[in-house]
């Protein structure tokens, strides 16, 4: 399976997840978007040594995934994309920050190790939250919310159109790549002699296709804006959901909850 085919399958899988029905799916897209942004801002605002304080933030995605009826492991595949840069930055911290700031069972842990772990946790948590949003919300709902908060219609329309076109072109690239590799077995990528023509041909075809697309859209009454059905406001508990999580995030940020829990039981 080539990259384009894999990407196509990923898009399909996300679409299928967003079409499911659960408590989280029924919540308004605006509330979910707000909670996700608040969550990410809270997570990244933790100090780089505050590993225990940060750990409590795992509960939001974990609980969210259960109520959305999505296994947590589904998002881990996505980590391969976001983690290299995070790891590259984090892995160097132990070499520069060697001050021991924590002792566990007589073994000293340096600040660099703590900050590396915190950074990786932040990366994973933020990804889990973004994935939860997109796995429970369709792109149309997100665009509708963006329009409601006065995001320019050119951007939302462009996002919707591009999203629909991405899968078509991915399929085409996938077929082209497969055909090329069948004719050039054992070759890793596209040979330098075909660098220009391979994508260039698809580009020219796509340009013509775009013109045909516009004409057909115009015939169906398109004048630059997509219209969204009224009443797609989500469940009545949507804002309660947002308020509840916002309060919990604020509490987790201001009070070191794991330490507090620990003092009660240790």
């Amino acid at each position: 399976m080539n990259q384009a085919e894999r990407a196509c399958q990923e898009l399909q899988a996300m679409d299928e997840l967003a079409a499911k029905s659960s408590l989280i799916h029924r919540i308004g897209a605006g509330s979910k978007l707000l909670v996700t942004i608040l969550y990410i801002v809270t997570v990244v605002s933790f100090s780089k040594y505050d590993i225990f304080g940060l750990f409590v933030m795992v509960l939001y995605p974990v609980i969210g995934y259960q109520f959305a009826l999505i296994p947590v492991r589904t998002c881990f595949y996505k980590l391969r994309v976001v983690m290299p840069l995070v790891c590259a930055v984090g892995l160097l911290n132990p070499f520069f920050d060697k001050q021991i700031i924590l002792t566990i069972g007589g073994v000293g842990v340096s600040g660099g190790v703590i900050s590396m772990l915190t950074l990786m946790m932040k990366g994973v948590f933020c990804l889990m939250a973004s994935f939860l949003l997109i796995a429970t919300t369709s792109i149309e709902s997100i665009c509708a919310v963006l329009r409601r908060i006065h995001c320019p219609k050119i951007l939302t329309s462009l996002l919707l159109l591009t999203f629909r076109y991405v899968s078509v072109l991915l399929e085409e690239v996938s077929v082209m790549t497969q055909a090329y590799h069948l004719r050039a077995p054992g070759q890793k990528g596209i040979h330098i002699s075909a660098w220009g023509s391979f994508l260039g041909q698809l580009l020219l075809r796509s340009m013509d296709r775009a013109t045909a697309l516009y004409e057909s859209m115009e015939l169906r009454g398109f004048h630059g804006e997509f219209y969204y059905a009224a009443g797609e406001k989500g469940a009545r508990y949507s804002w309660l959901y947002a308020l509840g999580w916002a309060a919990l995030f604020a509490l987790a940020r201001l009070v070191n909850l794991p330490a507090l829990l620990g003092t009660l039981f240790a």
Binding site: Q3, A4, A7, T36, I37, I40, V41, S47, K48, Y49, D50, I51, V56, L59, V62, Y65, L69, P71, C75, K78, V81, L85, V89, L92, N93, I101, I104, G112, M120, G123, C126, F131, I134, P152, L158, L161, T162, F163, V166, V168, L170, E172, V173, K188, I192, W195, G196, L199, G200, L204, M207, A210, T211, L213, L254, N256, G262, T263, F265, A266
Partner: protein, 367 residues
């Protein structure tokens, strides 16, 4: 670097910022500047709409298809001869050469948004920074400072062969420069966020050479694609048939030299041993031979008062840029070790229990 295969990697190896690498303050600033550029682009497109009497809605499908093409095109691996590794297409430069900088910028925003939302490439909070690092430099700096001056120059002569040379040269120079700027911005944003302990200079030294090689290959690929389009449909490539002589070869070289000097000078200034210029200006640096520049005493600078202490306490609680010390316990920056560990373990147990219960419920529902 290219030997490492990561799916969906494009536009440089380390160019997509993750949320974890940015402090909220830096991320918000990047959102604001990127939104400002997007606003300018939309205004310019509306002006073009009035001038050309062609509605933006007519350009939308072309912009969308081109954005989708860049996205799909970045899934193609191009073999680099003699290395056994592969490179990818440089989206920003190609979009601005075919759609123009303003439409190209908006299309790049959409590409980055889809990458971020559906492929976890970059983060939701880091989207503003990614737009700046990849779309702004690629579409505006690459187009106005490199692509257009070179395409208007007499580089390579006035024949059709000259146009081919100009397309290739502008693609390579444009991709190299924009990737260098993007990589530098990644370092700057990460350093300003206080995320990495890696010194700024070392970080720059690590990122820039990697992206020099990547930019060179991406420039060649972009140039090859643009050249093919130019051969088949010359009217699609912007400025390819522009009137020559607006910028002479000498002027073009001078522009490129000035750009290089500005970037080089900027980098060396920022990477110098005096990272905090404000601090230096206020307190001086006796080790470097400068005495107190403004006559201020660093140790006793600022007055202590009840209001100042209260403000400092509020700032500490609400600081968006996380500082280096753990709040409340200066002696032990990781907090209360034992209670913290016990608490974290309890959170893990709760999280595990939630997952188990959820799994059992899903299985029951599936039956």
């Amino acid at each position: 670097m290219y030997g490492i295969r990561i799916p969906h990697k494009k536009e440089g190896f380390f160019m997509h910022m993750a949320d974890a690498l940015l402090a909220p303050g830096v991320a918000a600033t990047m959102y604001v500047v990127s939104a400002a550029v997007a606003t300018v682009s939309i205004v310019k497109l509306r002006k073009e709409e009035k001038l050309q009497k062609q509605p933006i809605s007519k350009r939308l499908p072309v912009m969308a298809v081109m954005a989708a093409l860049v996205f799909a095109g970045q899934m193609i691996n191009y073999t680099i001869p003699g290395t056994g590794s592969s490179g990818h297409l440089c989206g920003g430069m190609m979009l601005s050469a075919l759609l123009g900088p303003f439409a190209g910028f908006l299309s790049m925003i959409v590409v980055l948004a889809i990458q971020c939302l559906f492929f976890a490439d970059g983060g939701l909070m880091a989207l503003g920074a990614n737009i700046w690092n990849m779309a702004f430099y690629g579409c505006f700096v690459g187009y106005f400072l490199i692509y257009r001056p070179i395409m208007h120059s007499r580089l390579g002569g006035t024949s059709k062969g000259g146009a081919r040379v100009r397309i290739i040269v502008s693609s390579i120079v444009g991709c190299v420069l924009t990737l260098q700027l993007g990589a530098f911005s990644v370092v700057l944003e990460t350093s300003l966020s206080g995320i990495s302990d890696l010194p700024f200079g070392a970080f720059v030294g690590l990122m820039q050479p990697i992206h020099l090689a990547i930019g060179l290959v991406e420039g060649l690929i972009t140039g090859a694609v643009l050249l093919f389009v130019y051969e088949a449909r010359p009217e699609l490539v912007r400025e390819a048939n522009a009137e020559k002589g607006k910028y002479s070869l000498k002027t073009t070289v001078v522009i490129l030299a000035v750009v290089a000097a500005i970037i080089g000078g900027g980098l060396s200034l920022l990477a110098s041993g005096n990272p905090d210029g404000l601090e230096w200006a206020l307190f001086g640096n006796e080790d470097a031979g400068y005495n107190a520049n403004m006559g201020l005493d660093e140790e006793n600078y600022g007055k202590s008062s009840g209001a100042a202490d209260a403000a400092a306490s509020i700032q500490e609680k609400t600081a968006f840029l996380p500082d280096y010390a753990f709040s409340g316990d200066e002696e032990n920056p990781a907090g209360t070790t034992v209670s913290g560990l016990v608490g974290a373990l309890m959170v893990a147990v709760v999280a595990g229990a939630v997952c188990t219960v959820g799994g059992i419920y899903r299985k029951k529902k599936a039956k």
